[in-house]
């Protein structure tokens, strides 16, 4: 704030207008929270908090609703997509920062950014028309053949591979979050001071050893923040999974089973819930999702800020 400028009435008004505009963010967050809580109060009153979160029921006929199947589906698809995405994303970041010849850095970086710009509905549609048949005809039968009879791991690969299931949804989600994780990891890698790297090379370390022992440890805060950020993104993704998840309100263990996430349940059922308690339960689900993703994103932001602080020192 410049102390030099004299206060002037127009200036006062302008500063108030800008203040109001920026406070709109806080007002929106509080507003969303308030509206979701008040709309779901009927369901909160009927099912409570713990009972709602721990119940696997989703039964519109008996008007008994619980969030667990949805939370489970959300958690399962999100975590699986992270497992697929993280190695690829970090590989991309290593390639772009350490291996790639300079003329390739631009195009690959651009490609990753374009991948992030494609709207999620396109991912979803492509998933249904292109990826799902490939999964059900080739990849899933193959996985089933290899892992289906292995003890323990086998339970993940049971049932008929239909292509409309947790695995397909997670693969699409992973393609969607790769760009986020990759670009944040790349930025963190780039921040490793070259002095540190060079001294490692000087004592005879190979390129991989530099990456493994210098770059990654140095940038782990940022990379971790990026991963949590991607997690937050994946939690709230709707359209990319709505096409291929199959909307199944049951807890299943196989990757070839259909499931339901909070987002998909909302997309499919929100405009169509016929009773008050049904709609209220859906608002309750939205509230759970809002809180879940808010906390996740706050954690991500916390790590990214810490990383920023560390590097700027």
């Amino acid at each position: 704030m410049p102390r030099t400028a004299k206060k002037n009435p127009v200036d006062n008004i302008f500063s108030l207008v800008t203040a109001a505009a920026s406070f709109s963010v806080i007002i929106l967050i509080i507003g969303i929270l308030y509206v979701l809580v008040s709309e779901s109060s009927l369901a909160i009153g009927r099912f409570g908090i713990w009972k709602f979160l721990s119940s696997t029921d989703w039964d519109p006929v008996k008007e008994s609703f619980g969030a667990l199947t949805n939370v489970y589906g959300t958690a399962f698809t999100t975590l699986l997509s992270l497992v697929i995405a993280i190695p690829v994303a970090i590989g991309i970041a290593i390639f772009v920062t350490e291996i790639s010849p300079n003329f390739l850095k631009g195009p690959i970086g651009a490609a990753i950014e374009l991948l992030a710009a494609i709207p999620s509905i396109i991912y979803g549609m492509w998933g249904l028309f292109t990826l799902s048949p490939i999964m059900s005809n080739h990849i899933e039968p193959f996985l089933k053949k290899i892992f289906g009879s292995v003890p323990l791991v086998g339970i993940l690969f049971q049932g008929t591979p239909m292509g409309i299931d947790i695995l397909t949804a997670s693969v699409i989600l992973s393609i969607m979050i790769i760009p986020f994780t990759a670009s944040i990891s790349r930025d963190s890698f780039n921040l490793t001071p070259s002095v540190v790297k060079e001294s490692a090379y000087a004592i005879g370390a190979t390129k991989w050893e530099v990456v493994k022992n210098v770059v990654i440890p140095y940038s782990k805060l940022g990379v971790f923040g990026g991963i949590v950020l991607s997690l937050g993104r994946a939690l709230g993704e709707t359209m990319a999974v709505a096409f291929v998840l199959g909307n199944n309100h049951r807890i299943t263990t196989s990757l070839f089973d259909a499931a339901a996430t909070i987002t998909v349940t909302l997309a499919n059922e929100f405009a169509e819930a016929d009773t008050d308690i049904y709609l209220s339960s859906l608002f309750y689900l939205a509230l759970v999702l809002f809180v879940m993703s808010f906390i996740t994103l706050a954690i991500a932001k916390f790590f990214l800020l810490r990383a920023e602080k560390k590097y700027s020192r």
């Binding site: 989703w58 039964d59 519109p60 169509e272």
Partner: protein, 335 residues
């Protein structure tokens, strides 16, 4: 910044003009079961009168919800509401067209109308107790059909749906286990299967997934060239879903205006009656007299001019006597 403001004002101006000349628009939402016929009627009606009737197929549950909240001019549901429900939400109800729900299958090598099922088999498939196509309970009904030993992929609706209501009403009527475990309604807790959104979604998933079974409104099965099955009706005959068997089911119907036409058409006793027939209903908000008049005008036009189109799309038009009853019902309710 200034340029931006100018642009904003110019656009605001454009919108306000565009707004003034907007023609009449009626909004309806609900059942996907009659979507093909309503949208075909609306398309023709628009050509004749200029009125645009925007019907969005979001599911019967949605139709009931949106008319209850008054976010649309009319709702549509395949599940009739009871007079009590209608009274509570101040709604009016009348049937618009009839049709049938048919089980459809995608099994390599099995053609339309080849597979025969009885209510017991359908019920156990949807309960998840009958898991393979070559199960004896299916094989014994189809000695000549070559059924594969592959798991049955069950497809159902994911949204609140009147098609589901008709289907689950049928199952509850013939299968006590279903009635106890699951029950009937616009959306139920499915024991097995994947959920498609709308009749379109179920048709799509069934078409794309080998060894699957789903249930859709007959028009969807026809238009998508899905293989329907034969069903054993309460009279003990295996019947094919077609006009004759739907009409046979409808012939036994006695719609009562005093009950706002609340009636199910499943498991009709007719000798050749299709067991999963149903009418689809229009819901109106009692107090919205203005928009009701316009909606009713549309259906009045459709009743007089739309039978041919409905038949083309394999819906059963309402019999003349019922149409007269409905017109009297409109009058009696001041529309």
């Amino acid at each position: 910044m200034k340029m931006f403001l100018k642009l904003a004002m110019a656009l605001a101006l454009v919108f306000s003009f565009a707004h003034a000349e907007a023609a009449e628009l009626l909004n309806g939402a609900g059942a996907t079961f009659p979507y093909p016929v309503y949208s075909a009627w609306a398309f023709d009606y628009n050509k004749v009168t200029g009125t645009r009737l925007n019907y969005q197929s979001i599911g019967s549950g949605g139709g009931i919800r949106q008319i209850t909240e008054r976010t649309v001019d009319f709702g549509a549901s395949d599940a009739p509401l009871t007079p009590e429900q209608l009274g509570k939400d101040r709604l009016l109800q009348f049937p618009a067209v009839m049709g049938g729900v048919v089980p459809v299958v995608t099994i390599p090598g099995v053609k339309a109308g080849e597979l025969k099922l009885d209510s017991n088999a359908v019920c156990n498939i949807y309960l998840g107790e009958l898991k393979y196509w070559d199960d004896n309970r299916i094989k014994s009904l189809n000695p000549k059909v070559n059924l594969p030993h592959s798991g049955i992929n069950v497809v159902h609706r994911s949204d609140g749906s009147g098609t589901t209501a008709i289907f689950t009403n049928y199952l509850s009527g013939v299968c006590p286990a279903w009635k106890n475990k699951v029950g009937a309604g616009t959306s139920v807790k499915w024991p097995v299967g994947i959920g498609g959104k709308g009749n379109e979604g179920v048709a799509n998933y069934t078409k794309r997934t080998p060894n699957s079974i789903g249930y859709v409104e007959f028009a969807y099965a026809e238009q998508n060239k899905l293989s329907y099955t034969l069903l054993k009706n309460p009279a003990g005959n295996f019947v094919e879903p077609n006009f004759k068997t739907f009409e046979d089911a409808a012939a036994t119907a006695n719609f009562d205006p005093k009950k706002h036409f609340d009636l199910w058409l499943v498991n009709a006793p007719g000798k050749h009656a299709w067991p999963i027939a149903g009418a689809t209903f229009i819901l109106l908000a009692k107090e919205k007299t203005d928009s009701n008049k316009k909606v009713v005008k549309f259906f009045d036009w459709a009743f007089s001019n739309g039978d041919k189109k409905a038949k083309e799309l394999v819906y059963v038009p309402l019999p003349k006597s019922l149409k007269d009853k409905i017109r009297a019902y409109w009058k009696a309710n001041g529309i």
